[in-house]
Symmetry: C2
Subunit: 167 residues, 2 copies
DNA sequence: CATCCAATGATATAAAATATCATTTGTCCA
DNA sequence: TGGACAAATGATATTTTATATCATTGGATG
Protein backbone atom coordinates (compact mmCIF):
# COMPACT_ATOMS: atom_id res chain seq x y z
CA UNK A 1 0.00 0.00 0.00
CA UNK A 2 0.99 3.61 -0.36
CA UNK A 3 2.46 5.33 2.59
CA UNK A 4 0.21 7.53 4.65
CA UNK A 5 -0.26 10.99 3.17
CA UNK A 6 -0.25 14.04 5.36
CA UNK A 7 -2.67 16.01 3.14
CA UNK A 8 -1.24 19.39 3.97
CA UNK A 9 -3.21 21.91 1.90
CA UNK A 10 -0.02 23.20 0.32
CA UNK A 11 1.14 19.79 -0.87
CA UNK A 12 -0.33 19.93 -4.35
CA UNK A 13 0.86 16.53 -5.43
CA UNK A 14 -0.62 14.75 -2.47
CA UNK A 15 -3.95 16.50 -2.78
CA UNK A 16 -4.06 15.83 -6.50
CA UNK A 17 -3.86 12.13 -5.79
CA UNK A 18 -6.53 12.54 -3.13
CA UNK A 19 -8.85 14.29 -5.54
CA UNK A 20 -8.39 11.67 -8.20
CA UNK A 21 -8.90 8.89 -5.67
CA UNK A 22 -12.11 10.32 -4.36
CA UNK A 23 -13.40 10.94 -7.86
CA UNK A 24 -12.72 7.32 -8.75
CA UNK A 25 -14.49 6.19 -5.60
CA UNK A 26 -17.46 8.46 -6.20
CA UNK A 27 -17.83 7.19 -9.75
CA UNK A 28 -17.60 3.58 -8.65
CA UNK A 29 -20.36 4.12 -6.13
CA UNK A 30 -22.57 5.39 -8.92
CA UNK A 31 -21.69 2.59 -11.28
CA UNK A 32 -19.84 4.97 -13.58
CA UNK A 33 -16.43 3.96 -14.81
CA UNK A 34 -13.49 6.25 -14.37
CA UNK A 35 -11.21 5.28 -17.24
CA UNK A 36 -7.53 6.20 -17.64
CA UNK A 37 -8.33 8.88 -20.19
CA UNK A 38 -10.88 10.46 -17.90
CA UNK A 39 -8.40 10.35 -15.06
CA UNK A 40 -5.81 12.03 -17.27
CA UNK A 41 -8.22 14.81 -18.17
CA UNK A 42 -9.27 15.34 -14.57
CA UNK A 43 -5.63 15.34 -13.48
CA UNK A 44 -4.84 17.99 -16.06
CA UNK A 45 -7.62 20.14 -14.65
CA UNK A 46 -6.49 19.75 -11.06
CA UNK A 47 -2.86 20.30 -11.95
CA UNK A 48 -3.48 23.44 -13.96
CA UNK A 49 -5.73 24.86 -11.26
CA UNK A 50 -7.12 27.34 -13.76
CA UNK A 51 -9.68 27.18 -16.57
CA UNK A 52 -8.46 25.14 -19.51
CA UNK A 53 -9.85 25.11 -23.01
CA UNK A 54 -10.63 21.73 -24.54
CA UNK A 55 -7.87 21.99 -27.11
CA UNK A 56 -5.34 23.14 -24.56
CA UNK A 57 -6.32 20.14 -22.52
CA UNK A 58 -5.89 17.90 -25.52
CA UNK A 59 -2.27 19.00 -25.79
CA UNK A 60 -1.58 18.66 -22.08
CA UNK A 61 -3.17 15.24 -21.85
CA UNK A 62 -1.44 14.09 -25.02
CA UNK A 63 1.89 14.93 -23.44
CA UNK A 64 1.05 13.39 -20.12
CA UNK A 65 0.03 10.05 -21.56
CA UNK A 66 2.51 10.00 -24.44
CA UNK A 67 0.19 9.80 -27.43
CA UNK A 68 -2.02 12.11 -29.43
CA UNK A 69 -5.57 12.40 -28.19
CA UNK A 70 -8.39 13.61 -30.41
CA UNK A 71 -10.39 16.68 -29.40
CA UNK A 72 -13.52 14.58 -29.52
CA UNK A 73 -12.10 12.29 -26.86
CA UNK A 74 -11.39 15.23 -24.60
CA UNK A 75 -14.93 16.51 -25.06
CA UNK A 76 -16.31 13.09 -24.23
CA UNK A 77 -14.23 12.90 -21.09
CA UNK A 78 -15.32 16.39 -20.10
CA UNK A 79 -18.97 15.56 -20.64
CA UNK A 80 -18.55 12.60 -18.37
CA UNK A 81 -16.67 14.51 -15.68
CA UNK A 82 -19.19 17.34 -15.70
CA UNK A 83 -22.06 14.88 -15.43
CA UNK A 84 -20.33 13.32 -12.45
CA UNK A 85 -19.80 16.67 -10.80
CA UNK A 86 -16.03 16.27 -10.92
CA UNK A 87 -15.57 19.11 -13.38
CA UNK A 88 -17.51 22.15 -14.47
CA UNK A 89 -17.72 24.24 -17.57
CA UNK A 90 -17.32 27.99 -17.43
CA UNK A 91 -19.75 29.12 -20.08
CA UNK A 92 -18.50 32.64 -20.40
CA UNK A 93 -15.02 31.39 -21.26
CA UNK A 94 -15.58 28.15 -23.13
CA UNK A 95 -13.33 26.55 -20.55
CA UNK A 96 -13.35 23.88 -17.89
CA UNK A 97 -12.15 23.53 -14.31
CA UNK A 98 -12.04 20.78 -11.73
CA UNK A 99 -14.92 21.21 -9.35
CA UNK A 100 -13.58 22.11 -5.93
CA UNK A 101 -16.57 20.72 -4.05
CA UNK A 102 -17.45 17.53 -5.86
CA UNK A 103 -18.74 15.74 -2.80
CA UNK A 104 -22.22 17.23 -2.96
CA UNK A 105 -24.50 18.73 -5.57
CA UNK A 106 -24.54 22.48 -5.77
CA UNK A 107 -24.61 25.41 -8.13
CA UNK A 108 -21.04 26.49 -8.73
CA UNK A 109 -20.50 30.23 -8.62
CA UNK A 110 -17.41 31.35 -10.49
CA UNK A 111 -15.47 34.56 -10.10
CA UNK A 112 -13.50 34.84 -13.31
CA UNK A 113 -10.66 37.35 -13.50
CA UNK A 114 -10.40 39.18 -16.81
CA UNK A 115 -6.77 39.92 -16.18
CA UNK A 116 -5.15 36.65 -15.07
CA UNK A 117 -7.89 34.36 -16.34
CA UNK A 118 -8.13 32.50 -13.09
CA UNK A 119 -11.52 31.34 -11.85
CA UNK A 120 -12.39 30.97 -8.21
CA UNK A 121 -15.25 28.68 -7.35
CA UNK A 122 -17.41 29.65 -4.43
CA UNK A 123 -20.63 28.29 -3.07
CA UNK A 124 -23.64 30.19 -1.90
CA UNK A 125 -26.76 28.16 -1.18
CA UNK A 126 -28.77 31.34 -0.72
CA UNK A 127 -28.19 32.38 -4.30
CA UNK A 128 -29.38 28.99 -5.39
CA UNK A 129 -32.47 29.26 -3.22
CA UNK A 130 -33.31 32.74 -4.47
CA UNK A 131 -33.13 31.98 -8.14
CA UNK A 132 -34.84 28.65 -7.69
CA UNK A 133 -37.68 30.44 -5.92
CA UNK A 134 -38.04 32.79 -8.89
CA UNK A 135 -38.08 29.85 -11.23
CA UNK A 136 -40.65 28.01 -9.16
CA UNK A 137 -42.93 31.02 -9.09
CA UNK A 138 -42.90 30.96 -12.88
CA UNK A 139 -43.44 27.22 -13.12
CA UNK A 140 -39.95 26.71 -14.49
CA UNK A 141 -38.19 23.46 -13.61
CA UNK A 142 -34.49 24.05 -13.07
CA UNK A 143 -32.04 21.48 -14.37
CA UNK A 144 -28.80 23.40 -14.38
CA UNK A 145 -27.51 26.70 -13.02
CA UNK A 146 -24.86 28.98 -14.43
CA UNK A 147 -23.61 31.77 -12.21
CA UNK A 148 -20.46 33.51 -13.32
CA UNK A 149 -19.04 36.88 -12.43
CA UNK A 150 -16.29 38.42 -14.46
CA UNK A 151 -14.10 41.20 -13.20
CA UNK A 152 -10.78 41.53 -11.42
CA UNK A 153 -9.46 39.41 -8.59
CA UNK A 154 -7.78 40.92 -5.57
CA UNK A 155 -4.19 40.13 -6.61
CA UNK A 156 -4.69 41.59 -10.08
CA UNK A 157 -6.16 44.79 -8.69
CA UNK A 158 -3.12 45.24 -6.47
CA UNK A 159 -0.88 44.50 -9.39
CA UNK A 160 -2.67 47.04 -11.54
CA UNK A 161 -2.46 49.64 -8.79
CA UNK A 162 1.28 49.05 -8.42
CA UNK A 163 1.78 49.25 -12.16
CA UNK A 164 -0.16 52.50 -12.33
CA UNK A 165 1.95 53.99 -9.57
CA UNK A 166 5.17 52.72 -11.01
CA UNK A 167 4.48 54.13 -14.46
CA UNK B 1 -45.50 62.63 -37.89
CA UNK B 2 -46.79 59.15 -37.12
CA UNK B 3 -50.20 58.81 -35.58
CA UNK B 4 -50.44 58.31 -31.86
CA UNK B 5 -49.70 54.76 -30.79
CA UNK B 6 -51.85 53.06 -28.21
CA UNK B 7 -49.02 50.80 -26.93
CA UNK B 8 -51.26 47.92 -26.06
CA UNK B 9 -48.94 45.17 -24.75
CA UNK B 10 -50.27 42.75 -27.33
CA UNK B 11 -49.57 45.03 -30.26
CA UNK B 12 -46.16 43.67 -31.15
CA UNK B 13 -45.56 46.02 -34.03
CA UNK B 14 -46.20 49.15 -32.06
CA UNK B 15 -44.06 48.09 -29.16
CA UNK B 16 -41.25 47.11 -31.49
CA UNK B 17 -41.15 50.68 -32.78
CA UNK B 18 -41.25 51.93 -29.22
CA UNK B 19 -38.33 49.77 -28.22
CA UNK B 20 -36.25 50.89 -31.16
CA UNK B 21 -37.13 54.50 -30.55
CA UNK B 22 -36.13 54.41 -26.91
CA UNK B 23 -32.91 52.58 -27.76
CA UNK B 24 -32.04 55.29 -30.26
CA UNK B 25 -32.80 57.96 -27.70
CA UNK B 26 -30.78 56.22 -25.01
CA UNK B 27 -27.80 55.89 -27.31
CA UNK B 28 -27.99 59.50 -28.38
CA UNK B 29 -27.98 60.62 -24.78
CA UNK B 30 -24.77 58.70 -24.25
CA UNK B 31 -23.17 60.00 -27.41
CA UNK B 32 -23.30 56.55 -29.00
CA UNK B 33 -24.57 56.32 -32.54
CA UNK B 34 -27.36 53.93 -33.37
CA UNK B 35 -26.72 53.14 -37.02
CA UNK B 36 -29.15 51.51 -39.48
CA UNK B 37 -27.35 48.18 -39.23
CA UNK B 38 -27.52 48.24 -35.46
CA UNK B 39 -31.20 49.11 -35.64
CA UNK B 40 -31.76 46.22 -38.01
CA UNK B 41 -30.03 43.79 -35.65
CA UNK B 42 -31.92 45.06 -32.64
CA UNK B 43 -35.18 44.85 -34.57
CA UNK B 44 -34.43 41.26 -35.47
CA UNK B 45 -33.93 40.46 -31.80
CA UNK B 46 -37.15 42.13 -30.70
CA UNK B 47 -39.13 40.61 -33.55
CA UNK B 48 -37.91 37.10 -32.95
CA UNK B 49 -38.53 37.38 -29.22
CA UNK B 50 -36.32 34.36 -28.62
CA UNK B 51 -32.57 33.79 -28.50
CA UNK B 52 -30.96 34.12 -31.91
CA UNK B 53 -27.54 32.90 -32.94
CA UNK B 54 -25.27 35.37 -34.70
CA UNK B 55 -25.44 33.54 -38.01
CA UNK B 56 -29.18 33.14 -37.83
CA UNK B 57 -29.33 36.87 -37.25
CA UNK B 58 -27.09 37.48 -40.21
CA UNK B 59 -29.61 35.74 -42.44
CA UNK B 60 -32.62 37.51 -40.94
CA UNK B 61 -31.01 40.93 -41.15
CA UNK B 62 -29.76 40.27 -44.66
CA UNK B 63 -33.32 39.59 -45.74
CA UNK B 64 -34.76 42.56 -43.90
CA UNK B 65 -32.39 45.08 -45.44
CA UNK B 66 -32.07 43.43 -48.82
CA UNK B 67 -28.36 42.75 -49.01
CA UNK B 68 -25.90 40.24 -47.64
CA UNK B 69 -24.39 41.14 -44.29
CA UNK B 70 -21.15 39.61 -43.06
CA UNK B 71 -21.07 37.69 -39.80
CA UNK B 72 -18.41 40.07 -38.55
CA UNK B 73 -20.79 42.99 -38.98
CA UNK B 74 -23.43 41.23 -36.93
CA UNK B 75 -20.92 40.53 -34.18
CA UNK B 76 -19.89 44.16 -34.16
CA UNK B 77 -23.47 45.33 -33.91
CA UNK B 78 -24.10 42.85 -31.11
CA UNK B 79 -21.04 44.01 -29.19
CA UNK B 80 -22.34 47.54 -29.44
CA UNK B 81 -25.88 46.67 -28.42
CA UNK B 82 -24.70 44.60 -25.46
CA UNK B 83 -22.43 47.44 -24.33
CA UNK B 84 -25.41 49.77 -24.49
CA UNK B 85 -27.59 47.41 -22.51
CA UNK B 86 -30.01 47.03 -25.40
CA UNK B 87 -29.17 43.37 -25.93
CA UNK B 88 -27.67 40.56 -23.91
CA UNK B 89 -25.74 37.43 -24.68
CA UNK B 90 -26.86 34.09 -23.31
CA UNK B 91 -23.54 32.43 -22.65
CA UNK B 92 -24.83 28.95 -22.23
CA UNK B 93 -26.42 29.04 -25.68
CA UNK B 94 -24.11 31.22 -27.76
CA UNK B 95 -27.14 33.32 -28.50
CA UNK B 96 -28.47 36.81 -28.08
CA UNK B 97 -31.72 38.43 -27.01
CA UNK B 98 -33.07 41.94 -26.76
CA UNK B 99 -32.84 43.11 -23.20
CA UNK B 100 -36.34 43.54 -21.80
CA UNK B 101 -35.31 46.10 -19.21
CA UNK B 102 -32.82 48.32 -20.98
CA UNK B 103 -33.73 51.46 -19.07
CA UNK B 104 -31.52 50.70 -16.09
CA UNK B 105 -28.42 48.67 -15.36
CA UNK B 106 -28.98 45.27 -13.86
CA UNK B 107 -27.86 41.70 -13.94
CA UNK B 108 -30.13 39.82 -16.32
CA UNK B 109 -31.28 36.45 -15.07
CA UNK B 110 -32.30 34.09 -17.84
CA UNK B 111 -34.51 31.05 -17.63
CA UNK B 112 -33.67 29.05 -20.73
CA UNK B 113 -35.97 26.24 -21.77
CA UNK B 114 -34.20 23.17 -23.09
CA UNK B 115 -37.31 22.13 -24.93
CA UNK B 116 -38.55 25.18 -26.82
CA UNK B 117 -35.34 27.17 -26.60
CA UNK B 118 -37.08 30.25 -25.34
CA UNK B 119 -35.39 32.43 -22.75
CA UNK B 120 -37.28 34.48 -20.21
CA UNK B 121 -35.47 37.39 -18.68
CA UNK B 122 -36.20 38.18 -15.08
CA UNK B 123 -34.70 40.57 -12.62
CA UNK B 124 -33.79 39.93 -9.03
CA UNK B 125 -31.79 42.62 -7.29
CA UNK B 126 -31.33 40.37 -4.27
CA UNK B 127 -29.42 37.83 -6.30
CA UNK B 128 -27.20 40.59 -7.52
CA UNK B 129 -26.64 41.86 -3.99
CA UNK B 130 -25.84 38.40 -2.66
CA UNK B 131 -23.24 37.49 -5.22
CA UNK B 132 -21.75 40.96 -5.17
CA UNK B 133 -21.38 40.65 -1.41
CA UNK B 134 -19.51 37.38 -1.88
CA UNK B 135 -17.27 39.02 -4.42
CA UNK B 136 -16.61 42.00 -2.23
CA UNK B 137 -15.67 39.80 0.68
CA UNK B 138 -13.00 38.25 -1.53
CA UNK B 139 -11.77 41.56 -2.87
CA UNK B 140 -13.11 40.78 -6.31
CA UNK B 141 -14.33 43.69 -8.44
CA UNK B 142 -17.37 42.69 -10.47
CA UNK B 143 -17.66 43.95 -14.02
CA UNK B 144 -20.24 41.62 -15.46
CA UNK B 145 -22.68 39.04 -14.19
CA UNK B 146 -23.97 35.92 -15.89
CA UNK B 147 -26.91 34.15 -14.33
CA UNK B 148 -28.62 31.54 -16.43
CA UNK B 149 -30.87 28.68 -15.48
CA UNK B 150 -31.61 25.93 -17.92
CA UNK B 151 -34.55 23.60 -17.55
CA UNK B 152 -38.13 23.46 -18.71
CA UNK B 153 -40.62 26.28 -18.91
CA UNK B 154 -44.19 25.92 -17.72
CA UNK B 155 -45.79 25.51 -21.17
CA UNK B 156 -43.31 22.83 -22.19
CA UNK B 157 -43.90 20.88 -19.02
CA UNK B 158 -47.61 20.88 -19.67
CA UNK B 159 -46.99 19.89 -23.23
CA UNK B 160 -44.73 17.05 -22.16
CA UNK B 161 -47.32 15.86 -19.65
CA UNK B 162 -50.06 15.90 -22.29
CA UNK B 163 -47.84 14.06 -24.71
CA UNK B 164 -47.03 11.45 -22.10
CA UNK B 165 -50.70 10.95 -21.30
CA UNK B 166 -51.71 10.94 -24.91
CA UNK B 167 -49.17 8.28 -25.86
C1' DC C 1 -15.11 -18.56 -25.37
C1' DA C 2 -18.64 -15.81 -27.54
C1' DT C 3 -21.28 -11.84 -27.21
C1' DC C 4 -22.53 -7.38 -26.08
C1' DC C 5 -21.88 -2.73 -24.77
C1' DA C 6 -19.35 1.20 -23.44
C1' DA C 7 -15.34 3.71 -24.53
C1' DT C 8 -12.05 5.29 -27.63
C1' DG C 9 -9.71 6.18 -32.25
C1' DA C 10 -9.76 8.51 -36.40
C1' DT C 11 -11.47 11.61 -39.50
C1' DA C 12 -14.41 14.98 -41.31
C1' DT C 13 -17.28 18.74 -40.78
C1' DA C 14 -20.12 22.21 -38.60
C1' DA C 15 -20.65 26.24 -35.81
C1' DA C 16 -19.03 30.30 -33.58
C1' DA C 17 -15.88 33.97 -33.27
C1' DT C 18 -12.09 36.94 -34.52
C1' DA C 19 -8.41 39.20 -37.38
C1' DT C 20 -7.12 42.17 -41.00
C1' DC C 21 -7.22 45.66 -44.20
C1' DA C 22 -9.73 48.31 -47.64
C1' DT C 23 -13.61 51.40 -48.15
C1' DT C 24 -17.31 54.23 -46.87
C1' DT C 25 -19.73 57.26 -43.87
C1' DG C 26 -20.19 60.70 -40.57
C1' DT C 27 -18.58 64.62 -37.69
C1' DC C 28 -16.27 68.56 -36.68
C1' DC C 29 -13.81 72.48 -37.47
C1' DA C 30 -11.04 75.85 -40.12
C1' DT D 1 -17.59 74.34 -48.28
C1' DG D 2 -14.59 71.07 -48.01
C1' DG D 3 -10.86 68.75 -45.91
C1' DA D 4 -9.18 65.92 -42.21
C1' DC D 5 -9.93 62.68 -38.88
C1' DA D 6 -12.44 59.04 -36.52
C1' DA D 7 -15.91 55.58 -36.53
C1' DA D 8 -18.39 52.14 -38.86
C1' DT D 9 -18.86 48.81 -42.35
C1' DG D 10 -17.45 45.64 -46.28
C1' DA D 11 -14.99 41.83 -47.67
C1' DT D 12 -12.27 38.02 -46.94
C1' DA D 13 -9.61 34.73 -44.49
C1' DT D 14 -8.62 32.24 -40.57
C1' DT D 15 -8.93 30.62 -35.87
C1' DT D 16 -11.27 28.48 -32.22
C1' DT D 17 -14.75 25.58 -30.40
C1' DA D 18 -17.76 21.74 -30.84
C1' DT D 19 -20.13 17.81 -32.96
C1' DA D 20 -21.06 13.86 -36.19
C1' DT D 21 -19.93 9.45 -37.91
C1' DC D 22 -18.28 5.00 -38.16
C1' DA D 23 -14.61 1.71 -37.28
C1' DT D 24 -12.05 -0.52 -33.54
C1' DT D 25 -10.83 -1.84 -28.96
C1' DG D 26 -11.39 -3.61 -24.43
C1' DG D 27 -13.78 -5.36 -20.64
C1' DA D 28 -17.71 -7.40 -18.33
C1' DT D 29 -20.95 -11.15 -18.36
C1' DG D 30 -23.22 -15.29 -19.30
Amino acid sequence: MTKKRTTKPKDVRATLADHIDSAITACRMRGAQMTPLRVAVLSALWSADRPLGAYEMRDLVSKSIGRKIAAASVYRALDFLCAQGAAARIESRNAYVACKHPSHEHACVFLVCESCGDAKEIENPKVEQLIDADAKRLGFTVKHRVVELSGFCAPCQKGAALTAHGA
